[in-house]
């Protein structure tokens, strides 16, 4: 690339353009103003103006997860930067590729407690893959190149580039490098053939194998290879919340979701298998419950691009470190070959899990005159089946009902905050997803607690023409906390009641220029959802659901899967309220 003398701020934009970034999400402020001024001079990168930097960060995450590209968020120093901390932490836990660009006070003021100064590289150090405080404008091209490279290579994750205002103003000869110079960053690019052979041997010889698939599979763009492996080996697939969509959920080999609110059949399969193949998953406590009691009889094969995940929690009998796309492709070939040579497919085991699914289906009751929250996600599923829909969620009961009843057919079609459990993730993530997938219908299944944490971004959705459908599962409570208080804290309700009266969500939506629909009766639900899905506008469907409904099944925190609490008709949930 030919070089030209430009300012640091321009260099940031030219770098984003060179990376092919179509959109960034942010809010201007003092220390980042030179870069916003450079935007005013023109750039091919669309800027979506959020209403809160946390929203901008989650939008960038939603964009990244819907598109598979790196998300970009931009904010000013001090409070602008600290507001990005939650999205950065979220992206760290869920391995979302994210480049955050923050303004910083002038170099001469750093360390003086200047206005809107904060040590954002220090604050975020435990939750980024890497970060830079750029001290010379001439470093900007190489830093930006490295930032994108690190965010998306190996295990994906967030990086932060902090640029003092005077560095944005200083001039440099701009040339975007073709290559990175990172001698210490060498994520694995190969898979050891002996480990593949051993893994294939163990998998093909298993009588009761389970593929336990996490979000790493989606990040690795390895879902096609996963499908090939599962079909070649006739092995059942269980996808985590983060892995939802990595495998088509209407496929005959998909058997649900593991963990705390996973169906009983999935957890029975996970815990009685003889070979557990972890694919880009990390034995999170919400999946395993009591670790010592998890899948006690299983030989563990663990596939991950991050060597540090292997044997971090559960010791791996067959570790396979490397890019999942290669690993799964080679495993599919090898397992297919072993099947052809006569290693029998586990048909009896598949039959057994299918029987468990028949025997222990997801169930919920009905109360006359009350809308059950599960009905909302169930109806949403029947209305969107086969359509190009991307679902995002907040965190809590509604999220678990979305996981249980919405069937994801494609990767990147279910976007939820898994590791960090960030309430308020849903609306901004949906806006980011819409920016990535304008042709898709983007639905945010939200709770009333979550909604109120980020609902100001409805303004962004409306004004930036990024229409989303918010389906509000409104139970007038912080529902999951309420459930825990009822189940584990003697029914002592402590500060969980939000009320349905304030705010009036439909009117609030209208105040933001969106469409608001309130649903109080069951027969209004389907028409309202149909209308919302067909409007092509930002809409909030406020569904007043049973405030006493609890989410089942449930494995209490720290308990083993065998101690699962199931829904019972006579459980007396009503009494607990």
């Amino acid at each position: 690339m030919s070089s030209a003398r430009i300012r640091g701020a321009d260099a940031i934009l030219r770098s984003l353009e060179a990376e092919g970034v179509p959109v960034m999400f942010g809010i201007p402020g003092g220390a980042i103003m030179p870069t916003y001024d450079a935007m005013a001079h023109g750039t091919t990168v669309r800027h979506v103006l959020a209403r809160h930097e946390q929203g901008a960060g989650h939008m960038a995450q939603g964009y990244a997860r819907a598109s598979g590209e790196v998300g970009v968020a931009i904010a000013t120093s001090g409070p602008g930067a600290t507001n990005l901390v939650t999205p950065i932490a979220d992206a760290w836990m869920d391995s979302t590729p994210l480049v955050c660009i923050t303004g910083q006070v002038r170099s001469t003021l750093i360390g003086t407690d200047a206005f809107q100064e904060c040590d954002i590289t220090g604050i975020t150090m435990p939750i980024v893959k890497h970060s830079w405080l750029v001290q010379d404008a001439r470093e900007i091209p190489a830093v930006m190149k490295a930032a994108f490279h690190i965010a998306r290579s190996g295990r994906c994750g967030p990086v932060l580039v902090d640029v003092p205002r005077d560095v944005q103003e200083a001039e440099l000869e701009f040339a975007y490098p073709d290559q990175v110079d990172l001698p210490g960053w060498k994520p694995p690019t190969k898979v050891h053939p002996l480990q593949i052979r051993e893994a294939a041997r163990v998998m093909a010889g298993a009588e009761k194998p389970v593929l336990y698939v996490g979000g790493g599979t989606i990040n690795a763009d390895a879902c096609g290879e996963l499908l090939a492996l599962a079909e070649a080996g006739r092995m059942p697939v269980i996808t985590t919340l983060m892995g939802k969509g990595a495998f088509p959920e209407t496929h005959g080999l998909h058997f649900g979701w593991p963990g705390m609110h996973g169906p009983k059949w999935s957890n029975l399969a996970m815990n009685s298998c003889d070979v557990l193949v972890a694919v880009g998953s990390r034995f999170d406590d919400r999946v395993t419950g009591k670790l010592a009691a998890f899948a006690p009889g299983a030989t563990v094969v663990h596939l991950d691009v991050d060597a540090a995940e292997i044997s971090k929690l559960r010791s791996a009998d067959v570790p396979v470190v490397g890019p999942l796309k290669k690993a799964l492709r080679e495993l599919a070939r090898e397992v297919g070959r072993l099947r052809e040579e006569g290693a029998p497919a586990p048909e009896g085991w598949l039959q057994k899990i299918a029987e468990w699914r028949e025997e222990f289906p997801l169930r919920y009751g009905s109360t006359p005159g009350v809308i059950k929250p599960q009905l909302v996600t169930e109806q949403l599923q029947s209305l969107t089946a086969g359509e190009d829909v991307v679902v995002t969620t907040g965190v809590g009961q509604h999220q678990m009902w979305a996981m249980q009843y919405l069937l994801s057919e494609r990767p990147r079609s279910f976007i939820s905050s898994g590791g960090l459990g960030t309430m308020g993730y849903g609306i901004p993530a949906a806006i980011g997803a819409k920016a990535a997938r304008p042709e898709a219908t983007v639905v945010c299944v939200d709770g009333d607690g979550c909604f109120q944490m980020t609902c100001q971004e409805l303004a962004t959705a409306v004004l930036e023409d990024l229409p989303i459908v918010v389906v509000l599962v409104n139970n007038e409570h912080l529902g999951m906390v309420t459930q825990w208080q009822d189940m584990f804290f003697g029914g002592r309700r402590s500060h969980v009641h939000l009320t349905r009266a304030v705010p009036d969500y439909a009117r609030l939506a209208e105040a933001y220029g969106a469409v608001g629909i309130t649903v109080r009766e069951e027969d209004e639900l389907q028409p309202a959802l149909e209308e919302a899905l067909g409007l092509g506008r930002t809409v909030v469907v406020d569904v007043h659901v049973d405030p006493t409904e609890q989410c089942f099944p449930m494995i209490p925190a720290g308990a083993a899967a065998v101690d699962m609490i199931e829904w019972e008709e006579t459980e007396g949930v009503e009494a607990a309220s």
Binding site: M125, P126, G184, A308, S311, P319
Partner: protein, 171 residues
Amino acid sequence: MKHTISVTVEDRPGALTRITTMFARRGFNIDSLAVGPTERPGVSCITLRVDCAQHTLEQIEKQIHKLVNVLRVTELVPGDAVERELMVIKVSAEPERRAELVSTAEAFSGRVLDLGPDAVVFELVGTPEELDSFHELCRPHGVRELVRTGRIGMSRASSKRPRSPRLAAIN
């Protein structure tokens, strides 16, 4: 079980902080830590002493290795590595007991750095265990101040020990 880990890093701002932050956040403890330049310009060596189980050691090594500025992680295995530490110690010594102290220090190849009316400052270089021994011998005299650099080390000149498969997987 105690282990010594030698980490070579690019000499960049925050490189050491990233390592210590990772230790703090993952709940790993550091017994001692020493940092300094190496034979390569722009590359520093951090020697860490940790007290942990084998499983934790593996986690520590892998987590350190993920840091972008880290070039290499090796464990200095006893028997296959040489380790040294520097100690400076100020011991109470009335004139009549000085000779005894100085001859003890000489037995450890120690050197007198400074002499005062009622105290001596010694410098000792040795294995951390030797320094421990000398410290013990000084105790009855009264140790007024003590600082140690933390151990540094490297593999022996004759080392032919193959890198462990564990580390080969990450380096």
